[in-house]
Symmetry: D2
Subunit: 343 residues, 4 copies
């Protein structure tokens, strides 16, 4: 942490800041400059709030230097996190492809899509049973019935299932049926949900919030790891910006930025990133090439009849073409696309 | 809803869209233009997903025209919502002033701040017992003990208390102690929490999410009203933008925009909006002048020792000056600042 | 400037950075911490590019501490800048009210609006002769004829005129007719235009760019001052954010932030900030209350016939009401609204 | 264009709007709905300002349906624009690779970088002679001397040169030396510069503004084409968002969005998009895979000594690796990377 003093700060004001630092058991390092003095602080900074200094006389600003994450950080665990979900390896050189409908609408719809995406090469199945919807008047998901449909389709296809837990009252139920518990973008800072996800015994797919910084995303993951669950997959799904040609702006630059700081696998969701189906394919290709550890894509047999997010869903033949192109690019990127076993 | 066809769309493609509309029990109104055809849709649009049309051949885009909110809307209830909280009137010509520490840290700290803000003219007390913190390693609040401190301070000062429920597992407990249940910005789209808040029997203070649109905020409130709770106060607390001179950008333009569409009272939180104490006073003044129905301000006896958000807290003498200026401006705006009774 | 080393940085890497600093004639101040080392730099930092260090082995990041502006800064000139424009005092306790049409469309239209806004209390006249338009097919302004109309209306009303110079080829012509030369938001970083404005012998009204930071705005003004022209008025006119309830987001928090760092007067433009006329009045009030040194408001006799920006223009009776409210609030803020003399 | 009436709008108000439409020579198509009436407008909409209707009684909002661009649009010219620059084909299946230093600092530096990037496979040379800098105290470029250096290096390497014209007073000079005239992001809406670029007889590289929408970018290009210059290359270089892990957010989703609407070639600039050299390589790969028509990359022999933007420059060996990876991906994308001839 660095305290920057105003240009006219008196020697006395500098001394007071130094004294305040030292009275908290920390070490002060004054750096007198041509124009102003700065004061570095070392020691156990975890407990310090920057507000302690910013209101002191003569202080211009307080700059945090050290980073607050631990368990998610490469500085603490250099090697990339890898694990298996029902035989499908995640992380490392493996490339994860999660596909399926936005919402589970019926057994037939889910099974039909699942079989087709499996044939095209997807290795996990997505589908929402509990749906967070902006309007209370929109379709809210089939709930427990949706989870049972997903479990039945898993039996038949062998595809592990990824599905969202929208709050703590449904998390245990979701964890009972799902292979991977998804925490949605709107819940990225629902800290009680994150803690519970950290105790649920399932890998967690954590989506980046619509206006989350890299630091906030990593600290959200830190909540999960801090509860003893190291199996977290991060997911970039588009951020909110001023643009209007896509529903969100897929921030692919966050992928290498995460990989530099953290050992956790990170995938991209071009369906939500684009919000319109015609941009999903090019953004999926870009996600592979930027170095993501996987993709999550919405596929629907009849998007024009979908109960949610039909705008952005691919039809199975489009997904099949997507997989052809993803496979070619994955080869260049030296990535393997594992096949789901069973069924 | 309006379907805009591509320039080269064939008569056949137009017919197919018209047929699709009519087969859903709606009425189609084709508008053939010089360059392209548009098709208006009327009828019960509530059930339509725009995705139903966007993937049809010849369709360029789908534009939603009608607005999805009902209960929160002035079109459904023209007169402004007004209610009382322990004798403090909210809405209408009344100006609400909620002040207090970010976090409840101890009985002494809370009581001391409460007495001072009451003397300065605040009519409700804020203070967090459950704190949503970006890092799992930051102070997370005193929980139940914090709620008990707030209740004790209410006894002593007569100030109704506003405090946050961070998730459904604590909402009932919070509602037992609080006079107004706050839903924080990070939870604005925690829909199960919103529904539960709609059933809790207490007025709800709903903060705008960091990147929420006006429509999303109103639909979040719609979740609460839809559960039978009409007593909702909206709160602008700053949105996330590219700027760096404040922690967030206080979007005061949302106040008149809300007031035009909705009958719900809307207040401003310049403390979170600014994030630095020196900008709180000018932004509080601007909030009064823009026509907000109240203010929410963080005050701390010793910001330099605060366990959270000390950067943005005012000391009691600064808050006293703020109230002097707010009073003068409220007079110009023809607003009354009610006094909390009791104690 | 502060160089932060990676956690595992070797003593050798630290030495190399220290050596690099010293070989540039600067002084290095290493601060060895528990987790990592930081190195403060003092001396003449003006010439340093942070890129010099960021690519060195072991370096995590480079943090700039000192601020790059000089002439615009209160650290260099503590007292607020004040000057007169044809007898109208600007800055200090004076409150500037610039009003008029978006574009000069005809002599009659301009004179009619000018007389009305003068009667309501405006003390300068705005009106565009050269219009920067997003589309080449929109009305581009009357050019020289527009300037002549403005000059004639000034003769008749005594109102000093503010009008935009869209590029260097018209700046001298604009400066010949105008009392204040406006640099538009799209040109805030047109550096050759800024330099020329610094030499034109007229006060300059510099509008903040749509996505400009506070620092970029102040450095743009620095270009003007650096050419010997100290008479600059800054103008907040809304920034581009994700919101859609207004055309831009008026960032009133920038007003106190500028006033803390800079001695230059700063006004607000609620017309562009809102983009819809119904929000102009509340945002104008908020601008006064936040402490702005003035306002710039678009007024048009027949907005429904305006050749540009009719959505956001007030009619003269609305502007008259705005001035009534502004006067009351200016009184509370201890501001005088000077009257234009002459004519 | 669609006029949406308020819910309570009277039949009379609807008639007035219809009358206003018809009195402008246009056709009105009222669509009476269950909740409100909408009125479609057809005819020659080019001259209409939406402000004409938004202030009429009973009008809720005005929605523009038709798009304002013509010459840049695929609806007017379906086949992709292709042309040659000194024998290097641009557009179509060709993949353009422009590389070189941010600024031309000396003949030796420029020639050395040029030779290296040519050996690695770049087919054009970039380098700034006129530099738009945020601060007046930063290095502003070598101006004419820089242009002469570029021309000399072109002689020696055969690489066509791309360099920026920062304003109209230098544009002719730049056009005399350059093969492609660059219009920078800060000048994307410098309309006099765009018009002059449309007359200069050279292909134009138009960079997207920091907060420009797709529509604004295409209309900026429309200014160039409207002056008779059809050879425009668009360039995505990152937009300004709230994120802080990169200097800008490279918005790759704009590439397919442009390609759907416009026939103009579009390239990506991952150097400015990232702002830090370590993210340039992954974002360059993503740019190829998303389907861009080329890349623009900053390369410097000694980034730690660069006079501008050293943070984001690659060293020649890094660029060589980038080209290896780009070549592999271009093959998958069925793109050719042409070789500059001559010298």
């Amino acid at each position: 942490m660095l305290i920057v003093m105003k240009m006219g700060a008196s020697a006395d004001q500098v001394s007071q800041v130094v004294h305040e630092i030292e009275s908290n058991g920390l070490k002060a390092h004054p750096i007198p400059g041509a124009q102003r003095t700065a004061i570095g602080i070392t020691g156990n900074l975890g407990v310090i709030e920057s507000g302690w200094f910013v209101s002191m006389p003569g202080v211009l600003e307080v700059i945090r230097v050290s980073h607050p994450y631990k368990l998610v950080s490469r500085e603490f665990k250099p090697e990339p996190t890898q694990f298996e979900v029902r035989g499908v390896p995640v992380g490392g050189e493996n490339f994860l492809v999660i596909a399926g409908p936005c919402s589970v609408e019926s057994y037939e719809q889910t099974r039909s899509v699942a079989q087709k995406v499996k044939e095209s090469g997807a290795n996990m199945l997505r589908g929402g049973a509990f749906k967070p919807r902006t309007s209370p008047y929109s379709f809210q998901g089939l709930a427990l019935e949706g989870l049972k449909i997903l479990a039945r389709v898993r039996e038949e296809t062998g595809l592990p299932i990824v599905t969202e837990a929208t709050d703590i009252d449904v998390l245990d139920q979701v964890a009972e049926y799902a292979d991977v518990v998804q925490i949605g973008a709107r819940n990225m800072q629902n800290f009680s949900l994150l803690r519970r996800a950290g105790q649920c015994g399932r890998p967690v797919l954590l989506k980046r919030g619509m206006s989350a910084t890299l630091k906030e995303l990593l600290l959200a993951a830190e909540y999960v790891l801090d509860q003893g669950n190291p199996q977290v997959i991060l997911c970039e799904r588009g951020i909110r910006t001023y643009t209007d040609h896509t529903r969100n702006t897929l921030d692919l630059s966050v992928v290498p930025a995460i990989q530099e700081i953290s050992h956790l696998p990170v995938i991209a969701d071009p369906s939500h990133g684009a919000g319109v189906s015609r941009s999903v394919l090019p953004l999926a290709r870009a996600s592979v090439a930027v170095g993501a550890d996987g993709l999550m894509v919405e596929v629907h047999g009849e998007p024009e009849k979908a109960l949610s997010d039909g705008d952005q869903a691919l039809v199975p033949t489009e997904f099949d073409q997507l997989m052809d192109e993803v496979r070619e690019l994955a080869l260049v990127m030296k990535r393997k696309i594992p096949v789901a076993v069973g069924a």
